[in-house]
Amino acid sequence: MSFWRSAGFWINVLLVAIGGAVVLLIHQDTLRETVFTILMFVILASSLNIIMGLTGYVNFGHIVFFGLGGYFGFFLLSQLGWPLYLCMIAGGALSVVIALVVGAAVLRLRGAYFALATIGINEAARAFVANFAPFGGATGLYVNFSAYNAYGGSSKALWWIFTLLWIVTIITVVVCYLVKHSRFGLGLIAIREDEDAAMVMGVKTPWAKTAAFALSAFFPALVGTLYFFKNGNVEPEDAFRFQLSLEILVMVMLGGKGYVLGPIIGALAYERLRGVLLVSPLFKNLHLALSGAILLLIVLFMPGGLVGWVRDRLPRLRRWLE
């Protein structure tokens, strides 16, 4: 593997690495909050891209892994007092286990049936957590303020959380790049293009799909744990936002599914776009309608997203935009 010699690799990594580093240098709270949201979107969209962009399975319920993994991580943190990084990893591990179990069942479905099932999974997870006493039921969980003291007070803790999120983003992007350019990734793309033909050529499709699903489930759990810790609480309505799940999907499509750069650009563009439109009184309440409309326009006129569009028009840029 000679990924470090590839221009496409460095563009992806440096984009998120420099973006986060600048925020740490400037050290300003509002900027940090904005970039926190963008990086969170980048991780969620990039991980969704593994199952949706590479493998071709449209997942409307990706947020489930953010919700369940985050809930579990936050539970360990707030109720059992585990250190933050351990909570993140434990949340990620739970997410992976759930994806393995659910994936083995649901990934037998193809096309629209799989997509429909993923909507069901999100609703089922929300209903389960809302009735699960150890997770605080419908009211959720809170963290004691003293938890932030371990990080030198709540202000320092927020910077620390941001730094961790930044590192997770870089790791996510690197992993996505490596997966796409691996033998495993080639198998996933073969499944996306023609699952039956992939099988005949020897791709162990049930295993590969489940592995891709499990990998895509890991990163959202890390974000979830960090996000809930930042907020100081978690509740079912916040953890399993179907609307956010849909927006992540729009980001992947907007940036370009199947490209590592796609979800990064998509997350950035969508966050900016949403920011502009949310302050406009006309669009404020049409938020969901708007993401739906964007999705429709992309599917119809720009199926390769922004990255695909540029690659088609400027073939010379292809090796930079992977």
Partner: protein
């Protein structure tokens, strides 16, 4: 024996697509499979390479019972296939398509070796100039060759070719026949379905004939061509009679 098919039947609802089919194929040979449209030829391939399990009967590949094994296991055991209805991975380049065959076939090569193997396979089928083109942009004849290259890149023991000559012009047929012979020279066994009679008669060591799911004849090309049952089966199919007459 590289392949033994024992009393294989396959039903689709009320349709008996294969009816108690048995035959054997020994290593290094070219076996031809002919029969009228809808006779069950492609279905036979599907049961052999695990696209679906036979309703009854047994498939033995290289001495092991592989009945009901999924297609990906068959590929890894050294069985490769070129489809009758081409199935390119359209968004991938021609080269990447063939790499999939090399990566997940018998040898399970790593990416770098697979890239080299794919180039070799593409040269052999005469598609190397198109390596970097998206597979979806090829024409039908080229896609047939792509199917062939993907199967070759897997370095299989046995290769199933489902009408790889269909839709090719005479000079393309000659080239493809030479490729098939070369593959055999390198030690692979070939089992091929073909409607181009002249071609299959000249290239096969042995021919079997399916009609309505049953094996009605088996023997050397000359013998099969003069078999009364075979002639009747084909006379029942006007399109094929025409083709036979034409040759």
């Amino acid at each position: 024996m590289i392949l033994q098919v024992k009393n294989v039947s396959k039903q689709f609802g009320g349709l008996q697509a294969l009816n108690d089919v048995s035959f054997e194929l020994s290593e290094g040979r070219i076996l031809g499979l002919i029969g009228p449209n809808g006779a069950g030829k492609t279905t036979l391939f599907n049961t052999i390479n695990g696209v679906f399990a036979p309703t009854q009967g047994q498939i033995v590949f290289r001495g092991e019972d592989v009945t009901g094994q999924p297609a990906y296991n068959m590929a890894r055991r050294g069985l490769a296939r070129a489809h009758q209805v081409v199935r390119p991975l359209s968004d991938l380049t021609v080269h990447e398509n063939v790499m999939v065959g090399a990566c997940f076939g018998r040898e399970g090569l790593g990416l770098r070796q697979a890239a080299r193997r794919a180039e070799e396979a593409l040269s052999r089928v005469g598609l190397i100039e198109r390596a970097e083109q998206p597979a979806g942009s090829l024409n039908v004849a080229q896609k047939k060759r792509l199917e062939m290259a993907r199967a070759l890149a897997a370095q299989p023991y046995l290769i199933l070719l489902d009408e790889v000559l269909a839709g090719l012009n005479p000079s393309e047929i000659t080239a493809m026949m030479a490729t098939i012979r070369a593959i055999r020279e390198q030690g692979a066994t070939i089992f091929m379905i073909e409607h181009v009679m002249q071609a299959i008669m000249s290239i096969s060591d042995h021919i079997i004939v399916l009609d309505y799911g049953s094996l009605i004849a088996s023997g050397p090309p000359q013998e099969v061509a003069n078999n009364q049952k075979v002639i009747e089966a084909y006379l029942g199919d006007p399109r094929l009679t025409e083709r036979l007459m034409a040759e």
